[in-house]
Each structure stands twice: as structure tokens, then as C-alpha cells.
Amino acid sequence: MQVAITVNGVVHERDVDPRTLLVHFLREELDLTGTKIGCDTSQCGACTVQLDGKVLKSCTLLAVQADGAEVTTIEGLAENGEHHPMQTAFWENHGLQCGYCTPGMIMASAAFVRDNPGASEGEIRHYLEGNICRCTGYHNIVKAVKQVADAAAGA
């Protein structure tokens, strides 16, 4: 089936098998391998992207469902060669170890802080329950998100 999906600002028209998951479309059709596949069972959040600004596990949606939509992946977060503040905060707070969960963590956290500037540590921990990290123990991830949330609220 013919689809037109805008990814990181560029329209991609492709003929896809309807059973193609969005994550396969991104990684295999478009070579955007920043988005990871972790569990492949909708639990871990490694595949998190934003679809029309909403957080989505891209292993749990067909590419044909995203026809006409705008998708943002980790590759599309930086602007004019400058990291997104969430990317910088993960860097500064050492919010990653192996890095496998990081693209999903950052896509989810960036959407969260956009909608909830000034979020508390408790709110951040609660929100990130859909993103699993096997390495960090979460503390530095939460620190990174809190830094951006505080800055967004002008604190």
C-alpha cells in the first residue's frame, strides 16, 4: 500500500506491505537506526518516537496507520546542528550507560517536559514507567529530565 509519512520534516512516499511496523519502516526503509527495538512486545519503550507530537511505541503501530502523519525520531530532535536541551542534559548528567534505551528515553522525556514544564521528580519517575533502562538505575536519567523541566519553568 502507498503511504506518505513525514519523518523529521521530510516526506517519504513508499509502497509498503501493510504488516510493516512503523519501527521497521524507520529503521529498514529509511535507515534511521537511532530508534531501537528492545522487547518488541510493547513494554520497554526503546522504540519510542513522537507521532504528531504524541509519544508512541513504534513497534506497536503499522506504518499504514501513520500514513499522512508527522513522525519525529531521535535523529530529528537537534535543530541547526544544536542538540535539543534534553540531549544536552542526558550528556551532562551522564543519563546513560550502554545507551540502548536512550533514544526512547529522550523522545519520551522531551514530549513530557514540553507538556509539563516544571514537573516534579515524582511526576518524572511516574511518567517514565513506559521506558525501561537495564543499566543506569534511573537516577541520572531523572536528574537530566529534572534539569530540563526546571529550566523550562524558568526555575
Partner: protein, 281 residues
């Protein structure tokens, strides 16, 4: 993981969806129950009829009661001021479904059609006396929530029938709440309890109670309701209701190695007390 091959059609209206369903297959709403099952090859429909873009299935209207389109997402329900005002327990239950990604795409219609025993919204729909509005090739019909849920993953829906909306009475004068004991990994309900209390001063004139998660389907709990009605919800009444609810669900219990039936049954009593406290809070 790739699902098996299927034909994909996108329906633009309820009529188109029903016409396509005559050819077999399954409706695809948010895909957040169906696609995981298809990826594991637990399900392999030959045709998927995408109902995700049908305008008639979207949105929430409030006049007298609530009517929620089947295609409305958990997130839209949880954040709706009308739902918060008229059935705060449903807003709360939808806000406790999975995580934000699931709530952004999973829909109320898909959730209840799937009828996972560990789901949250069905428990509230049963407690609050919701009506499920259905359309099929033979026309429209409505089924009370208590009759809609039949067993594990089994509902009153016939093949090819579509849920169009869910109606709820206005609960703004009641004290209602939904509390859940979430599975630590999946966040699905091990036990979920919904209560809707109609108070007359300090006395509970009527109590509606339903339990899910612990049971094959959401169960209305008449004995617990009787133990609460006419009381001031004092400690003796709460203890009696917590005992009674165990009998209400005894026939329908489910369990697993980590959370056996007897444990869930006990927790239903504990969570009933918490739900009443939350409703009064």
C-alpha cells in the same frame, strides 16, 4: 517481529467498516492489543479494517450523561473535563492504563472489545452502569456493561459487530473512585476496584461496587453493596463489605503463580476499602 500477512482496508465511516467486515477479519483501532497479539502469532486475521480514522467514533459528548465514542483514546478520556466531572472514576481508570504511549493510542472501544480480564475501564463501566452501543449488519443495539462482559476475552459482540460508543449516567452527585493494584512489570491490574457511592448526608443511600483484574471479567458485587448501603461507612460496615466482596467474586477468580486466586481475593477486600476512602477523599 512481523505479523502474518493480511489485507488492509481503511474505513472512512461506520457503514464502510461494517460493509468490509462482511468479508471477515478484524477491526483495527489503536492496535495496542491486537498488534502485540498478531506479532506473537496468537492471532492472524486475514483482513484488518482500520477504524482509527472514522470521525463518528471519535469524541466525548456530555448532555445529561456522557457518550464516549469507541475510538476515543484513554488519554483523551482521562484528560476530559466532562469525564472528570461526570464520572471521575472512569477518568482515573483510563489515566492508569499502561503508560503514556499506550494511553495516546489505545481506545476505549478496543479495550472493552478485547476484554482482557486485567483491564481497568471495564470495572468502572460495570460499577457505574454504562451501556455499550453496538452496530452491525442488522442494525443497532445496546447492551448493559454487566451483560457485555461474558468471560476471559469474551463479550456479547457478534462477528462483524462494531462498538460505536459507550454511554454513562451522570455521576457528578456521587462519590466515585477506581483504585488498582498494578502488576509491577506490566502495569495491568492484579486487582482493580471501582465504587460509586450515593450519599444522603452521612449515610450511604446506595453503593455500586465492581471488581476486575482478580476475576475473569469485571464483576458487580451485590453482597458488598448491601453491606455498605444504609450505613455511615463506619469501620464495621467497611469490614463487612471487605468480607462480602470475597464471596461476590469467589466463583470468578483467576490467579497465577505470583498472584494466586486466594491472594487476589484477599486484596479485593483491601482495595475495596481503599476505593471507598479515595471516593470520600
Amino acid at each position: 517481529m512481523w505479523p502474518n500477512k493480511f489485507d488492509y482496508v481503511r474505513a472512512g465511516s461506520v457503514d464502510e467498516a461494517l460493509a468490509s467486515a462482511a468479508g471477515g477479519g478484524k477491526f483495527l483501532a489503536g492496535g495496542h492489543s491486537l498488534l502485540p497479539a498478531m506479532k506473537l502469532r496468537l492471532d492472524s486475521p486475514e483482513q484488518l479494517i482500520d477504524i482509527g480514522r472514522i470521525p463518528e467514533l471519535q469524541g466525548i459528548s456530555a448532555n445529561g450523561g456522557l457518550t464516549i465514542g469507541a475510538g476515543t483514546t484513554h488519554d483523551a478520556i482521562a484528560s476530559s473535563a466532562d469525564v472528570q466531572a461526570m464520572c471521575s472514576a472512569l477518568a482515573s481508570a483510563c489515566g492508569q492504563v499502561g503508560d503514556q504511549g499506550v494511553r495516546n493510542f489505545g481506545t476505549l472501544g478496543g479495550n472493552i472489545a478485547h476484554a482482557d480480564p486485567a483491564s481497568d475501564p471495564p470495572t468502572v463501566l460495570v460499577a457505574c452502569g454504562a451501556t455499550i452501543n453496538i452496530q452491525g449488519a442488522d442494525g443497532k443495539r445496546s447492551v448493559g456493561a454487566e451483560d457485555f462482559f461474558i468471560d476471559l476475552f469474551e463479550t456479547a459482540l457478534d462477528d462483524g459487530e462494531l462498538i460505536t460508543s459507550v454511554s454513562l449516567p451522570n455521576c457528578s452527585d456521587c462519590q466515585c473512585a477506581y483504585v488498582k493494584f498494578p502488576h509491577p512489570a506490566s502495569r495491568y491490574a492484579i486487582v482493580g476496584v471501582a465504587v460509586c457511592l450515593k450519599m444522603d448526608g452521612d449515610t450511604c443511600a446506595q453503593a455500586d461496587v465492581a471488581v476486575g483484574g482478580a476475576t475473569v471479567k469485571a464483576v458487580k458485587c451485590a453482597d458488598a453493596e448491601a453491606a455498605l448501603a444504609g450505613t455511615t461507612l463506619d469501620e464495621a460496615a467497611l469490614n463487612a463489605a471487605a468480607e462480602a466482596v470475597k464471596a461476590d467474586i469467589a466463583e470468578d477468580l483467576i490467579g497465577d503463580i505470583a498472584y494466586p486466586e486466594s491472594y487476589r481475593q484477599q486484596m479485593a477486600g483491601v482495595f475495596l476499602k481503599r476505593a471507598i476512602a479515595a471516593a470520600q477523599g
